[in-house]
């Protein structure tokens, strides 16, 4: 569903068409949830944030003036997930919740490598860029706008992150 189709769906849903709302959810649930999860690494918290996003969307759908509703929704997901992460940091570090945030190489090797473990090794910003680019199909320019970074920096960080993932997934060497 491109931005144009999404706008049409939002318009329908604004007119009370719940099927359109359901279709928007089906279309966006995976990229939105992936973005949130890769910030929080906690399924329960991620689902809370996910609920929050779609309830907000229902109550206040994006204005028709917004050209890129996909990016708008992804930005909302990112902001709410980061807020949630900040709140947790104050009360309880994520690393204490049974999901290691930055496992050592030994940990990775001994527990069989997988993509998520490798992604956890990236800096949060790099992981976000990779997720937004690959899982949410966002353009680099959109990611740059969303993260408020120069486009070139986003491009470089993406390439560096993919290189790092490649290194980890190739057994620590490239």
């Amino acid at each position: 569903m491109n931005n144009h189709d999404l706008k049409l769906k939002i318009e329908k849903f604004r007119d009370g068409d719940m099927d359109a709302f359901s279709e928007i959810y089906e279309e966006l649930k995976i990229p939105v949830y992936t973005i949130i999860y890769r910030i929080l690494y906690d399924r329960m918290l991620a689902e809370d944030v996910m609920q929050d996003i779609f309830v907000r969307l229902y109550k206040a759908p994006p204005s028709l003036q917004i050209d890129k509703p996909r990016a708008y929704i992804f930005q909302m997901a990112r902001n709410l997930a980061l807020d949630s992460k900040r709140k947790i940091k104050v009360s309880e570090p994520l690393a204490d919740r049974g999901e290691p945030n930055n496992p050592s190489m030994e940990f990775l090797v001994s527990t069989r490598l997988d993509i998520e473990s490798a992604l956890k090794n990236l800096e949060l910003e790099d992981r976000e860029i990779v997720t937004m680019r690959i899982n949410a199909n966002m353009k680099f320019r959109e990611i740059a706008e969303l993260t408020k970074k120069p486009l070139g920096t986003v491009l470089w960080r993406y390439q560096r992150a993919i290189g790092r993932l490649r290194e980890i997934l190739s057994g620590g060497e490239s």
């Binding site: 949830y33 996910m50 069989r112 997988d114 993509i115 690959i134 070139g152 470089w156 390439q159 993932l165």
Partner: protein, 280 residues
């Protein structure tokens, strides 16, 4: 300066001769037209890319004198891109493919950013996409020595300052080379030389010079292509949990596919929970 001028003239001469020879053989109507088809098709493809922009899977295009072929550097050896290019050639033997870490479009974006950043800065003489020179020899980048980078020519006095800045922001997309005083920004020429004049470009900002060659799509490679990939043992767990053992590192394309496949689905009941919340 003379040295670069000589290299420059030599390159231009070969380009001119190539064009002349190319035109002559195409126009001759003596039965060799068929032989020229790859070059004609290549020229058409270049024109099309120059007009409409390069596909994101193209990193560089050069002419390799050893191979007597044009070499198109594909980002991560993009197979779909290769197929797309080959589909436009009746005789694909006239071209060869290499691999590029970055796309030309990505490098142009970085070049534009640095050019803007450099507008009011002292000591930056040239920003271009292309190759550099080392000890008087033309030198490309990457394993093949053919790849392009954003080459920034700057004064020795500011080298360290910008080296750390650009390294942090752009990593190895950017290559810094030391140069000397150039000319005002407003005299800029060419896409690859938004800062500095042609004199400056020929003298030290070969970045712009080579970028202009890129525009002409006839950069020369005198060295052969040497690919020497290190092979390592690999244990990869695919996103679906299946363990795959291979004898080579993952390609970047495979990493991207694996990340794509690793997307995470929320619980099946979540939508109902959302509807419940909405109703409340």
């Amino acid at each position: 300066m003379k040295k670069f001028r000589i290299i420059g003239f030599a390159l231009l001469l070969v380009m001119a001769l190539s064009s002349y020879s190319f035109a002559q053989r195409v126009d001759s109507g003596d039965g060799v037209v068929g032989d020229m088809a790859p070059e004609v098709e290549m020229r058409d493809l270049f024109s099309q890319w120059e007009m409409n922009g390069y596909p994101d899977y193209v990193g560089y295009v050069i002419y390799d004198n050893n191979l007597n072929k044009h070499v198109i550097g594909l980002v991560e050896g993009n197979q779909a891109g290769k197929d797309e290019i080959l589909s436009q050639f009746s005789n694909p033997e006239g071209i060869s493919f290499g691999s590029s870490k970055y796309s030309y479009n990505e490098l142009l974006e970085v070049q534009n950013e640095i050019s803007k950043d450099a507008q009011n800065k002292e000591g930056i003489y040239g920003v271009g996409v292309g190759w550099t020179t080392e000890n008087g020899k033309v030198k490309g980048f990457g394993e093949s020595g053919q790849e392009f980078r954003v080459v920034v020519t700057l004064d020795e006095a500011v080298y360290d300052e910008y080296a750390s800045k650009y390294q942090a922001e752009y990593g190895d997309m950017v290559y810094l080379e030391k140069g000397s005083q150039a000319v005002p920004v407003e005299d800029s020429v060419g896409r690859g030389a938004e800062i500095g004049t042609m004199d400056a470009i020929e003298d030290k900002s070969n970045t712009g010079f080579y970028a202009s060659i890129f525009v002409a799509m006839l950069a020369l490679v005198s060295a052969g292509i040497l690919i020497n990939r290190r092979r390592t043992a690999l244990v990869k767990q695919a996103a679906n949990g299946e363990q795959v053992t291979e004898s080579r590192p993952l390609t970047r394309g495979e990493v991207v596919s694996a990340v794509k496949e690793s997307e995470i689905k929320p619980g099946d009941d979540l939508y109902d929970d959302i509807l419940d919340k909405i109703k409340k």
